[in-house]
């Protein structure tokens, strides 16, 4: 995607970095870059790359990006606790885990993301958010926006329009935040509601908030306008050119090693496997023929895999050997509906061929899968 604005040029990042004096009028060079991709994993990988590879001693970077529909959870969060994974799969919405802390957010093209890169010494979130507020007010003076002490930006004193998170490394740090311009609030609220019951964990919980789009306050606002206004304010603050460099997060020549970072962010082991240890303790009803039975399930999940599992069924509803076979196979398996489905159906092949038995088995397994 190439943006039409005349202020943007598609210079290679390498040019800017090799000739630092070229773009900057002072030694505290501010560099503004914008991603041409809407893929959440690629964009998160760019953050990783800059964090790991760029020397920010005399330079600060502002990274502008937008994603096609995705839910992004914080580093230490539990996706089962935070969102409706079933709905995400149905709607083909991606799930990503970022490396910074904080809570869960929903991204779509009506939301903009800003990342402020500095050295650890110059890490200052309040200043960054004040910069954003200043830019918003310059664009739209009547907006009632302010920064809270929880690093949120509120509209009209009650609606959250921006959430913040940060990552600090040994020498560099970044602070990123979202900004709701024209996102789909309906999808947002439905995907960020978890249907999973009985979860107990020490993962960082999200704090739900009422949200509003800036577009609702001023229908003339677009994401492009917001990005430009913020870039302009940043350029002024850092006495640098208001020139936005476009970068392609798939380009290995500009960002060597980036594709590996992108891949890592997409692995199951990162997205799900990094979930802090948690337990599931719940029960469900199975209606079969003329009776309804209660089933109690307890599971411990570590690194996204089932460490221990216990299924409490009424006696003899299923042959105990079969039940223990299921439990045995679930242990060590991923806490994942697809994995459990294939596991359960494969096990069925070596069961006695009895329709009644098969129906009961399928009912039990389907309910187990619903927990994931």
């Amino acid at each position: 995607m190439v943006f039409q604005s005349s202020l943007k040029t598609c210079l290679q990042l390498s040019c800017i970095l090799r000739t630092p004096k070229a773009g900057f009028r002072s030694s505290s060079g501010g560099l503004i870059i914008q991603s041409v991709s809407n893929d959440v994993y690629q964009n998160l990988a760019v953050e990783d790359w800059i964090h790991d590879h760029m020397n920010l001693e005399n330079r600060q970077v502002l990274f502008l990006w937008r994603n096609s529909p995705a839910v992004v959870i914080g580093r230490h969060q539990n996706p089962w606790q935070e969102c409706n994974l079933r709905l995400l799969r149905q709607k083909n919405i991606k799930l990503a885990r970022r490396r910074s802390g904080g809570g869960t957010v929903y991204h779509d093209l009506g939301n903009i993301n800003l990342t402020f890169f500095t050295t650890r010494k110059k890490y200052e979130r309040m200043e960054n958010l004040k910069l954003v507020v200043k830019a918003l007010k310059a664009l739209c003076p009547q907006l009632d926006v302010h920064v809270t002490d929880r690093y949120d930006i509120l509209l009209d004193r009650q609606y959250k329009i921006s959430g913040t998170a940060a990552k600090l490394g040994r020498t560099t740090a970044y602070h990123h935040c979202t900004l709701l311009c024209n996102a789909d609030k309906f999808v947002l609220s439905s995907v960020l509601k978890s249907p999973y019951k009985g979860l107990k964990s020490n993962a960082t919980p999200s704090v739900p908030a009422s949200v509003k789009n800036l577009f609702e306050e001023d229908p003339s606002l677009t994401c492009e306008m917001l990005l430009d206004a913020i870039a302009e304010e940043y350029a002024t603050r850092h006495q640098t050119d208001h020139q936005i460099t476009l970068i392609n997060p798939a380009d290995e020549t500009v960002l060597p090693g980036i594709n590996n970072k992108t891949k890592e962010l997409q692995t199951w082991d990162w997205v799900y496997g990094k979930t802090p240890k948690f337990s599931v303790s719940t029960c469900f009803n199975i209606a079969y023929k003329d009776s309804v039975l209660d089933v109690k399930v307890d599971m411990d999940v570590k690194h996204g895999r089932i460490e221990g599992c216990n299924i409490d069924l009424p006696e003899q509803w299923l042959p105990p050997a079969l039940c223990s076979e299921l439990v045995k196979n679930l242990t060590g398996s991923k806490f994942c509906p697809n994995e459990t489905t294939t596991l359960a159906t494969t096990l069925l092949r070596v069961c006695p061929q009895d329709d009644d038995l098969h129906s009961r088995w399928n009912l039990l397994c389907e309910n187990m899968i619903m927990l994931m």
């Binding site: 490396r99 650890r120 600090l168 060597p256 596991l343 359960a344 092949r349």
Partner: protein, 452 residues
């Protein structure tokens, strides 16, 4: 103890002289590594993940743990080389800035670093941390990198480090190896590429023998670890082991044949666009499936022994990331070829998305495996219990064959390999079934007579 105060002017050098000598430190001194300032006036954090455990050896800059405070996730890295002797906090406990985080036992031959606030330290002062000196050339590398070098018989002193302070990274070892083995690296016109910028950009500390440019890290990893890895079989794979073991108990007998699909290929070419208009991708499988059913019907005996199944649910083997899964098309006996094709499309889409349901994966009565899409001609397929037979289809090849007039023509040949449970199906039955199946496919027009 020996404490030094540094100022930046001391660091305009390009040689390796150390500014203070190794100290009078006793063997294995335990140093308490304190949690450094996080910034923004934060005094406490929660420990969220440990990257090391007691007894692990660490190098300077290795990640020790991840802590979180107020929406910020912080990676704490080690200031020293040594062995972790004590973790002061458990997971989810609150850790305090300025208080000990871990105890590290520092190697006897190394000096102790001066007390300093990590946040304020400019990169250069890390020069003072002691590292192995090999013939006056410092080699900074983590234990993992050293191990990789050792496994591949590489001298660290011969490798150019591209990390901070010329620290040798894993990529540097891989680069070095690539040069040794003559592997082809992606082209890297030096003018246009930024290597990961070494943090000591402002201090060009170049070792004496480093005349070359900083090489590019290889993005395609060449793995030379040479170590066997044991991984436990879990979940789905465990279940497959059970299934295959049960399958092995079935006495298999195989029957193979060659089918001339020339006419079918032509027919499919004609029908493909019609199916396309109706939104369905038409492969050969729907024909194979439907014909299998028809053949079975015509063969009463086979029908009877397949337990008088009212529903013929033909499973189609699918290769996914997880491995082999077999969703099935239900009630093939009442479906048209188009309906079967449509259902296959649906199952394939769900299969790739990892969203097949239990209903799709159970109840199969017979399986067809189109292994030919990957390759191969004849195979020896294994029956999937509780079924009694399985068919594997090889790839379609263009081969010369003789026609009725004794002329050579281009034929589209596909090989089929059947396996059947010999306790239930005998050779003659299998042969007759296969011939019937073959004749339908070789003369598609004849399908019109018998396909229901």
């Amino acid at each position: 103890k020996y404490v030094c105060v540094f100022d930046k002017s001391a660091f305009k050098f390009s040689h390796q002289q150390r500014l203070f000598r190794t100290s009078a430190v006793s063997c294995g001194q335990i140093v308490q590594f304190k949690l450094s300032d996080i910034g923004e006036g934060i005094t406490e954090v929660t420990v969220k993940e440990w990257y090391i455990k007691e007894g692990d050896s660490v190098s300077q800059f290795d990640s020790i743990c991840e802590v979180q405070s107020d929406k910020a996730s912080v990676t704490i890295t080690s200031r020293y080389d040594g062995i972790i002797r004590k973790l002061h906090y458990n997971l989810d406990e609150i850790a305090y800035v300025g208080k000990p985080l871990v105890d590290i036992e520092i190697d006897a031959s190394k000096g102790i670093a001066p007390e300093e606030d990590v946040v304020e330290t400019p990169p250069m002062s890390h020069e003072e941390h002691t590292h192995q000196e090999i013939k006056g050339h410092k080699t900074l590398a983590t234990p993992a990198v050293r191990r990789l070098a050792m496994e591949n018989n590489i001298k660290l002193s011969e490798v150019v480090g591209t990390g901070k302070d010329n620290r040798i990274l894993k990529e540097d070892i891989l680069n070095y190896l690539a040069k040794q083995t003559g592997a082809i690296l992606p082209p890297s016109p030096k003018g246009e590429i930024i290597p990961p910028l070494p943090k000591s950009e402002t201090v060009p500390a170049a070792p004496k023998d480093k005349a070359r440019k900083i090489p590019l890290p290889v993005s395609r990893p060449l793995v030379f670890s040479g170590k066997d890895k044991t991984e436990p079989i879990t979940g789905f794979h465990k279940a497959m082991v059970k299934t295959m073991s049960a399958a092995l108990k079935i006495p298999h007998f195989g029957y193979c044949d060659e089918i001339d699909l020339t006419q079918l290929v032509q027919l499919r070419e004609e029908l493909k666009p019609l199916a396309q208009i109706r939104g369905v991708k038409l492969s050969f499988m729907p024909f194979f499936i439907k014909v299998r059913c028809a053949a079975e019907h015509c063969m009463e005996y086979l029908c009877r022994i397949c337990q008088n199944l009212a529903s013929h649910n033909i499973g189609v083997a699918m290769d996914t990331e997880q491995g082999l899964i077999v969703p099935n098309v239900k009630n093939v006996q009442v479906c048209s070829v188009f309906e079967i094709a449509s259902e296959l499309n649906r199952l394939q889409a769900l299969g790739s998305a990892g969203q097949l349901g239990t209903n799709d994966l159970t109840g199969g009565t017979f399986t067809l495996s189109n292994i030919g899409t990957i390759g191969g001609t004849y195979t020896k397929p294994v029956i999937l219990p509780p079924e009694v037979a399985i068919g594997a289809l090889g790839k379609i090849q263009v081969l010369p064959r003789f026609n009725g007039k004794g002329e050579v023509f281009k034929a589209q040949i596909m090989n089929v390999s059947w396996s059947a449970d010999h306790r239930i199906i005998d050779g003659a039955t299998m042969a007759r079934f296969s011939n019937l199946w073959k004749s339908y496919l070789e003369n598609p027009a004849s399908m019109l007579l018998d396909l229901k």
